[in-house]
């Protein structure tokens, strides 16, 4: 379910806590009850078969209650035959056999599971459930990333301090979606913020749709045209249903909606023709319940449109390699946009937002390939200097790669996005260097790269000179570095000896420091207008616009809108416009040229 970030139940955390409290009041195992409840929800979503659910808890239930009067083996077999259709019936068993009041049975039989079942199952009819299950299968095939719980919520991390205002994302989006002039689904603006304390970075905002988990636009829609896809949390507009009342645009606090005030400049035929080679028309796509809905590309006349986060890409219409990407993300030269599954901690946006300095470093260092390295290192000595020289790397580059690996820990390369790919590149490159003979866990080597304390003074002074060099290069960090070193030396004397013998324990703090020194840390990590309870799915890194923030005149970005253009499927080149009103005024009947 896309509606809950942390809780598994669609009614949210509060309800879940109530359940938990109810279970706590009984003599039975709360954890078991909650685990069962959580898995029961997975059954409703079609992620777990009813039979597996039964089997999984059979022993626990016997142990806890001394009996398992949930569906018997017979029902389990029957359930298998009838596929998903019997879930509701199975759950009705939780109602008891008529001898005990329902509430008692609920308590006794894993109240969570029963309550969840009665609430949630009622809302999922058989057809939908099969469709949901089918959708999950499709996701698997298309390689869509799966979160911890198997649910997907597409979203972004946008590094405002990496954005250079080139507007590539704006043109890429407009081009991909064949938007009319001034329809800037993706909008980049620069602002002044008189109320802000001294800012450390540029005031810039990159503003796609926030694809809110609690989208106000969806709530107010009188038709359900504005909807959230259960399968991946994208907030979309069904162009065939929208009546054009524009209440969604009014309710959205971010101003991301664009109404199609007149006939769009490009026809659906032209769009479909352009995408002939694609597995779809870039307009309609499966809604997860087996029916096609027109939700992508520019809107037809009289209905609302906005950034879609490219559902036809996510559904595999543009090929498997495009799943998990958006046009804007692909186009961004400094990789300021990270797109991925917000429910997956190893996804690009989550890894990036969790450690922006590391994410920025990864995006910038461009590690050499392992093959390349092996070739270059052939015949070179295995000391640091020789390796660096042969591989055409400098100490900083190697240090950053190692720092990335140290800070990556066990999760290094776990995700399935660009970040993980880059992590794997780093891992492979470092492995190639290690296999050449340079011990990257060696304290001396790490110390030279500013990633560890100096070894004891009575050690050979071989690396010392280099160490001094490094210090000179990294003057800025000296003071801090020394402080950290002192802290650690206090308690680590004994360990040091061990390290020397058994391989050195990497210093994560020093690694992090190196990354931050190289890439910087963002001024803040925020979600836009979170106080309005929208639960946006975009994490921003950089300066948060305050209540007095005002866009500067003209647009003030790195590049001006009037200087850029984009190409549409009909081959026409369109000049970008930052203020759509200028375009729309041409159609106004009796435009007075004044404003109230």
């Amino acid at each position: 379910m896309s509606a809950d970030d942390e809780s598994f139940h669609p009614l949210g955390e509060e309800w879940e806590n109530d359940l938990e409290g109810m279970l706590d009041d009984t003599e039975y195992d709360t954890d078991l009850g909650m685990a069962m409840a959580e898995d029961a929800m997975r059954v409703t979503r079609g992620e777990l078969s009813e039979a597996d659910f039964h089997e999984k808890y059979h022993e626990d239930v016997l142990e806890e209650f001394g009996e398992d009067n949930r569906p018997t083996q017979e029902a389990y077999e029957k359930a298998q035959e009838e596929a998903k259709g019997t879930v509701g019936r199975m759950l009705s068993r939780f109602d008891g056999d008529g001898e005990e009041p329902r509430r008692d049975v609920m308590k006794k039989m894993g109240a969570g599971a029963a309550a969840v079942g009665l609430g949630a199952w009622a809302t999922v009819d058989d057809g939908e459930q099969q469709a949901a299950a089918a959708q999950d299968d499709e996701d698997d095939e298309s390689g869509a990333p799966e979160g911890g719980e198997g649910d997907v919520q597409w979203g972004m991390a946008i590094d405002l301090e990496r954005c250079d205002g080139c507007l590539s994302c704006v043109t890429a989006c407009s081009s991909e979606n064949n938007l009319d002039q001034g329809v800037n689904w993706m909008y980049v603006l620069e602002f002044e913020d008189p109320g802000a304390s001294s800012s450390t970075s540029r005031n810039r905002l990159v503003r796609p749709c926030q694809h809110c988990t609690d989208a106000p636009c969806e709530k107010v829609c009188p038709t359900t045209a504005r909807h959230t896809r259960d399968s991946d949390g994208l907030v979309l507009t069904d162009y065939d249903v929208c009546i054009g009342c524009r209440y969604c645009q009014v309710a959205c606090p971010y101003g991301v909606n664009y109404f199609q005030w007149d006939e769009p400049d490009i026809s659906t035929d032209e769009i479909a023709e352009f995408h002939e080679d694609m597995d779809g028309d870039h307009m309609t796509t499966d809604d997860g319940y087996g029916s096609e809905r027109w939700v992508d590309s520019r809107a037809p006349r009289g209905v609302m449109s906005k950034c879609t986060m490219c559902p036809t890409r996510q559904d595999g219409q543009m090929g498997d390699e495009m799943v998990g990407t958006t046009a804007c993300e692909e186009a961004c030269p400094p990789d300021a946009i990270q797109f991925g599954n917000m429910h997956d901690e190893s996804s690009d946006p989550q890894t990036y937002a969790a450690n922006p300095a590391r994410g920025r470093t990864l995006a910038q260092i461009n590690p050499p390939s392992a093959d390349e390295l092996e070739e270059e290192l052939e015949g070179a000595d295995d000391d640091l200097e020789s390796v660096l020289e042969a591989a055409d790397l400098d100490e900083e580059e190697l240090g950053l790669m190692i720092a990335v690996q140290i800070t990556g820990g066990d999760e290094m390369g776990d995700g399935d996005g660009d970040v993980a790919d880059l992590e794997n590149d780093v891992t492979e490159a470092l492995a190639a260097i290690e296999s050449h003979g340079l011990g990257l866990a060696n304290q001396e080597v790490l110390a030279e790269l500013n990633l560890a304390d100096e070894p004891d003074l009575d050690e050979p002074a071989d690396g010392d000179e280099e160490g001094v060099d490094v210090d000179e290069e990294e003057e800025n960090g000296d003071d801090n570095d020394d402080d950290e070193d002192e802290d650690e030396e206090n308690g680590d004397d004994e360990d040091d000896n061990d390290d020397d013998d058994n391989g050195f324990e990497p210093d994560e703090e020093a690694a992090q420091f190196l990354l931050e020194q190289f890439a910087g840390t963002p001024a803040s990590n925020f979600k836009l207008l979170e106080e309005q309870g929208t639960n946006p799915n975009i994490i921003y890194l950089g300066n948060e616009p305050g209540p007095q923030a005002e866009q500067t005149e003209p647009t003030g970005s790195g590049v001006n809108y009037e200087d850029i253009s984009y190409e549409r499927a009909d081959g026409e080149s369109v000049e970008a416009v930052d203020n759509r009103k200028d375009v729309l005024d041409e159609g106004t009947v009796g435009d007075a040229g004044v404003s109230l």
Binding site: M304, T588, G593
Partner: protein
């Protein structure tokens, strides 16, 4: 007070006579509506680009404008009208009985104009049935717009029922003097009538009036209409609990003004000085003053709360009110009307019918302007006010402006047509006036009047 005695002939006069002025008015109103229909046709052909609207945000405009402002205005007039009429029936304000039906008709006309605005405002009005009704069971749980459609429809039905019930009595008794050409209509209206029902109908009407009086502040102009705006936290000028009462006062001021103008027009056209007396105008004007006072008082609440130590966004929204002519002028206008009405209570000689009409026009203009400002200022001063380089420029296009004339034409046409078919002053009012003035009752009507009063006493 007139010395003439009101008769059936008086209330039949509009039905039995037409004048040159009638045809002129009909032609002008028809032309106004027709011109807008053509304009709307062009809008349907070209798209809403013909308006002065744009997207708020980077679109540099406002997405709701005059259409929505005028929609609220008409709904307000309509709701106020029915509240007025219900109060007359429920609270025994017999003095206003001669204008009660005018107020009810104004409700139907106002709701029609408002409903028309909903269609005009839509990008795809052709999908109203499939998209809105098709998903009604889902959207009614969330969307204030669906609540609106629901409640407006409910009120239309309620008012029409109310009117149809009270008309049966009149039409049956006046049937001989009504024109034969409308026989099918009268047959329909009086289907299955028997005198035994009079008492029951009176009770039904009383209960419907009670429902209206309860529902109006809770659901209508004190409810779902303001909630369209008041539930959106991004707009400090809209958000908050005051909008319900504020909207209700606006509805009542504009409705009373509408009834004053209508009454004056009918009185002049059909020599109804002895039916719609000066006394009624004085009374209506006092009520107008009372609701103007409430209107200003609630505005004051907002100005104070938004100025003393407001949040940044709320402060900006309120600051605009002190300077923007679209807000300042209407407020001063209403204040002036309030001052005049207060003066008439101190010095009754200051009252004239013409002045009452001017006051009404000022209030109607002021409420329309205030509504327009209300809608626009939301987009001008949102909480997320970052889009400063693309501000919400707006001026209604010629087509939008013509919608105002068109809907006023529609309402005038409605009255011109209805006045030729049914009595716009109810028979009860005539009977009542005669009773008050000591003239003889017609025997058959007496028990009916008794029963009319019964529930009022209970209330």
């Amino acid at each position: 007070m007139s010395t003439k005695s009101p008769t059936e002939a008086d209330i039949l006069r509009p039905i039995q006579n037409v004048s040159k002025l009638y045809f002129i008015m009909f032609a002008v109103a028809g032309l106004a509506l027709g011109a807008f229909l053509v304009a709307w046709g062009y809008q349907l052909y070209q798209g809403l680009v013909v308006t002065g609207l744009s997207d708020w945000g980077s679109g540099g405009g406002v997405t709701w404008g005059l259409y929505i402002g005028a929609f609220i205005w008409w709904v307000g007039i309509a709701h106020g009208g029915i509240i007025l009429s219900a109060a007359v029936r429920l609270l025994g304000m017999d003095r206003y009985m001669p204008v009660a039906r005018l107020a009810e008709l104004l409700t139907l006309a106002g709701l029609s104009a408002a409903g028309f605005y909903i269609l005009v405002h839509m990008g795809r009005p052709d999908r109203m049935v499939t998209s809105v009704l098709g998903h009604y069971h889902i959207t009614v749980n969330n969307s204030p717009l669906v609540w609106d459609v629901t409640v407006i429809t409910a009120y239309f039905v309620l008012t029409a029922t109310y009117l149809a019930l009270t008309i049966r009595y009149d039409v049956t008794r006046l049937r001989d003097q009504l024109p034969d050409r409308f026989d099918p209509i009268y047959d329909g209206l009086t289907l299955g009538y028997s005198e035994k029902e009079d008492q029951i109908i009176d009770r039904m009407v009383w209960w419907v009036a009670l429902a209206i009086i309860i529902m109006a502040p809770l659901l209508l102009h004190g409810g779902v209409i303001p909630w369209l705006f008041a539930v959106l936290p991004n707009y400090p000028g809209w958000f908050g609990a005051v909008q319900g009462p504020q909207f209700l006062t606006i509805a009542l001021t504009s409705a009373i003004s509408g009834v004053i103008l209508l009454s004056a027009a009918f009185r002049r056209a059909y020599d109804w000085d002895h039916i719609i007396t000066d006394d009624i105008f004085r009374g209506l004007l006092l009520w107008l003053g009372f609701f103007c006072l409430l209107f200003l008082w609630l505005q004051l609440q907002q100005l104070t709360a938004g100025s003393f130590h407001p949040t940044v966004d709320h402060g900006a929204a309120t600051a605009s009110k002190f300077t923007h002519p679209l807000y300042v002028i209407p407020i001063l206008g209403v204040l002036g009307v309030l001052g005049f009405i207060f003066a008439t209570t101190v010095r009754p000689a200051l009252f004239t019918k013409l002045r009452a009409m001017i006051a009404s026009v000022i209030v109607l203009t002021a409420t329309l302007a205030e509504k327009l400002y209300f809608v626009l200022s939301g987009f001008w001063y949102p909480s997320f006010s970052i889009y400063e380089a693309t501000p919400g420029d707006y001026f209604p296009s010629a087509i939008e402006l013509s919608s105002l004339l068109g809907t006023i034409g529609l309402v005038v046409l409605f009255f011109l047509v209805v006045a030729k078919v049914i009595p716009v002053v109810e028979l009860h009012a005539i009977e009542h006036l005669r009773g008050d003035h000591g003239h003889g009752h017609e025997h058959e009507h007496e028990p009916v009047e008794e029963s009319t009063k019964q529930p009022e006493v209970e209330a």
